[in-house]
């Protein structure tokens, strides 16, 4: 396997202790995590890192537990060559995923319907996709009703801006998936490879489509403070996938910093055109220097607000249970419209 030298070099004593602890706790022999590495440049290079549970969880995502995956990790190696016009992706893991998983959520507890993120509540007989995510999407205009301040949609949802709407720009991420895959055996071992055209990052499952955009706009402007996202009510927004003709080159993804997510998807598409389901099995990111250590997570508030440090301990670390990343809201959301009206009096 490419990158094995680095893999070997990362077997420090601490990793050994961790691996032993994991092996003892799960009574299974698990691979040691890969020390993150990179070499080369945008034109030709290689990148490798381990993916962990909860590592870059966005709001409202569920980290499921399947029989073997509590202490598991997955290893991801990407190799690219612009001249050869290839991006090779290799995802592997021992006892990492359950074949055809059945995963369930409870409405109002870990599932909150969202018109801008239509997804299946449960996954039965599921299948998996690895998502390559650029941390550096463009600013998109979102439109809000002038009277109610409710979110109407983004510029991708309207051919012309809706009348009497307030436009607000938010930064986005964009992502594209592999084809669907399953573990290679009942134990959940994974050895999945896919090759993309470097200059044509189309969906692995649908050659007619490419990336879509994701961000976390407030569903109502009155409950958001653009300078205090930490105090704002934010929810996921996923655009429809862009047509294959708008596919971006790999260099766009790479230069923007990356996130990775292995999701569990329903056995049939839930929505047409297809988007993504918020069951996140393993994640990782290179948008934070060196990636995020196992048991920690990307602090998305910090990332969006440009404050440091950008990582925090993950509340699901060390627990072998399905974990939900809460909706981004305060126990009692602040109505900033009312506050501003008071201030103006």
């Amino acid at each position: 396997m490419a990158g094995m030298d680095w893999f070997k070099s990362g077997k420090g004593p601490l990793y050994g202790l961790v691996a032993v602890a994991i092996a003892l706790s799960s009574s299974t022999a698990l691979a040691k995590p890969m020390a993150p590495y990179s070499k080369g440049d945008v034109e030709k290079g290689e990148l490798g890192l381990s993916l962990y549970r909860g590592n870059a969880n966005p709001f409202e995502i569920t980290s499921p537990v399947t029989p073997n995956n509590c202490g598991s990790t997955m290893d991801l190696v990407l190799k690219w060559d612009a001249e050869e016009n290839t991006l090779d992706v290799h995802l592997s893991g021992d006892r990492s995923l359950e074949p055809y998983p059945n995963l369930y959520r409870t409405e109002g507890v870990d599932f909150f319907p969202n018109p801008f993120h239509p997804e299946a509540k449960d996954v039965e007989g599921g299948r998996y996709q690895l998502w390559l995510i650029s941390a550096s999407g463009p600013l998109l205009n979102f439109y809000y009703d002038m009277n109610t301040a409710e979110l109407l949609g983004s510029e991708l949802d309207f051919e012309v801006p809706p009348a009497n709407a307030i436009p607000v720009a938010f930064p986005t991420l964009y992502l594209v998936p592999t084809a669907f895959f399953q573990p290679k055996n009942a134990q959940g071992d994974v050895n999945y490879k896919q090759t993309w055209e470097y200059d044509n990052m189309i969906r692995g499952d649908r050659a007619d489509l490419s990336h879509f955009y994701i961000t976390f706009p407030p569903p109502n402007l009155c409950f958001a403070n653009p300078f205090r996202l930490d105090l704002s009510l934010l929810r996921p927004y996923l655009s429809d996938p862009r047509p294959a003709s708008e596919a971006r080159p790999w260099s766009d993804y790479l230069r923007g910093g990356l996130l990775f997510d292995v999701t569990a998807e329903p056995e049939e598409y839930y929505h047409e055109p297809p988007r993504a389901t918020f069951f996140g099995m393993y994640m990782g990111t290179t948008a934070v220097g060196g990636g995020v250590p196992n048991g920690w997570k990307l602090d998305i508030d910090a990332a969006f607000m440009g404050v440091a440090p950008p990582i925090r301990p993950w509340h699901g670390a060390g627990k072998c249970e399905q974990t939900f990343e809460p909706m981004h809201t305060l126990p009692e959301p602040i109505n900033f419209c009312a506050l501003m009206a008071q201030a103006a009096q």
């Binding site: 680095w6 070099s9 990362g10 420090g12 004593p13 601490l14 990793y15 202790l17 961790v18 995590p33 020390a35 993150p36 590495y37 990179s38 440049d41 945008v42 990148l47 890192l49 962990y52 650029s134 941390a135 550096s136 999407g137 463009p138 600013l139 403070n225 653009p226 300078f227 205090r228 930490d230 260099s251 766009d252 790479l254 230069r255 923007g256 910093g257 290179t286 948008a287 934070v288 220097g289 060196g290 250590p293 196992n294 048991g295 920690w296 602090d299 508030d301 910090a302 990332a303 969006f304 607000m305 440009g306 404050v307 440091a308 440090p309 950008p310 990582i311 925090r312 301990p313 670390a317």
Partner: protein, 466 residues
Amino acid sequence: MTTHHRTSILVLAALCAPLTLAACALDPGPEGDVETRGQKPPKFRTGTENLHLEETVRFNNANPAADLARGQAVFGLADDGVSEDPSEALFSGVSFVYGGPVPSNGRTCFTCHRGPDQQFGLPTPPLSDTIPLTDTLFTGIDADAGGDPDALHNLDQLGLVKYRVNRFNPTRGDDDPYRQVFGWRKSIPLVNVGFAHGFLTDGRGRVMFETARGAFFAHTQESDNRFDDLIAARRSDFDDMEAFLFGLVSDPALLALKDPNDPNYEALVDDPYLTVDMMVGDPSKELQKARKRGKKLFDKNCFGACHNTPQLFNNLANVEATGNGDRPQDYVPHAPAVGRMFNVGVAERNAHGLRFTRHLGGGAFAPIVVPLANEDGSTHHHEVTFDIGLAASTGRTEDIGRFKVPQLRDLANNAPYFHDNSAATLEEVVEYFSSCEYNDSKDGQEYPIHLSPSEQADLVEFLKIL
């Protein structure tokens, strides 16, 4: 010095070298976890470094539509190009985010970056020798220090400012150690700042906009409250100021490095020393030889390791902070750091014996214990006894004591040196890099330097002409 004496010194140095090496045996240091003390660190260095770092000659460019004259005014530099004019440079007004009127303390960028006579930094301490105590540099000190009783001495006598690096992170509570952790650091001379990969001494400023915004938050008022809406209302001023700052160069020829299409670009990249005038000042034959020897030593020990940017001699490794250009500077996708930072042991040395405990008021202090992530995911509760550098911004144990590699042009005029002004002269700098403190440091182990006294003297002669 006679040939005989020089030979004797060289022989002595050669004999002593093994002793020196032996004396620089690994010391686990006070910051190591109990279980990792004495163990050699892992070989890979990517633990906390940005995985997209490239050794590419590539620098940020200012917005070509920016207004340099406006940028100069916002900086606080008068039309005469020498003195201060605060009329356009103060940030005050009513802010909804702040919760009311933001009171200015009268400080501008110029307050700590005092014009071309000081390389846009501060003069040599004691500052009160050249700056009156009635200057806003001193009268506004509580904006930085919040009543810390060490602040006035450290500013005046050492030229150091108290930086609480996460002071304006509202997602952390007031008592969160990340809000409290701080460093005593110099005000960087801004000449050639446009060639940096990451700004401020620890490189945590990824782009100039957020660097300047942080400076306005930190130095112009006394609270920990942000006033982003005031900043947003003057957003274009920041582009203007960036253009002004990026125009501060020690040699206009260097600007060709910012444009790969410039006819001089290739030559500057191919010959890293092209703009270094070895004959400046009409040197004697002996001095010419010393400079040549010094250049050779620099090339081997400094350029070959850390100072590897052609012409500028800071570190070349960089990542495009705003990605592929889809994003403005307001939304940087890469988290710290966008350049490669090094731990050369200066922070651990703490040569001034600076205090890094939290001032509670009334002369009482308490330890600051920062939970840092080890690379295996475990947590290292680090009690701060010296400046932890980049770790305060990344939350990673591996980044303790890491700082930016400074550019070296006009070095002779930039004293004192290091992030904590702990070397008064170039001689002291060069001597430090042959010391055990350096060679035992995290990056000193990777890039060891052992220069004899005569080699150190030659290297100093070369550094003087950069």
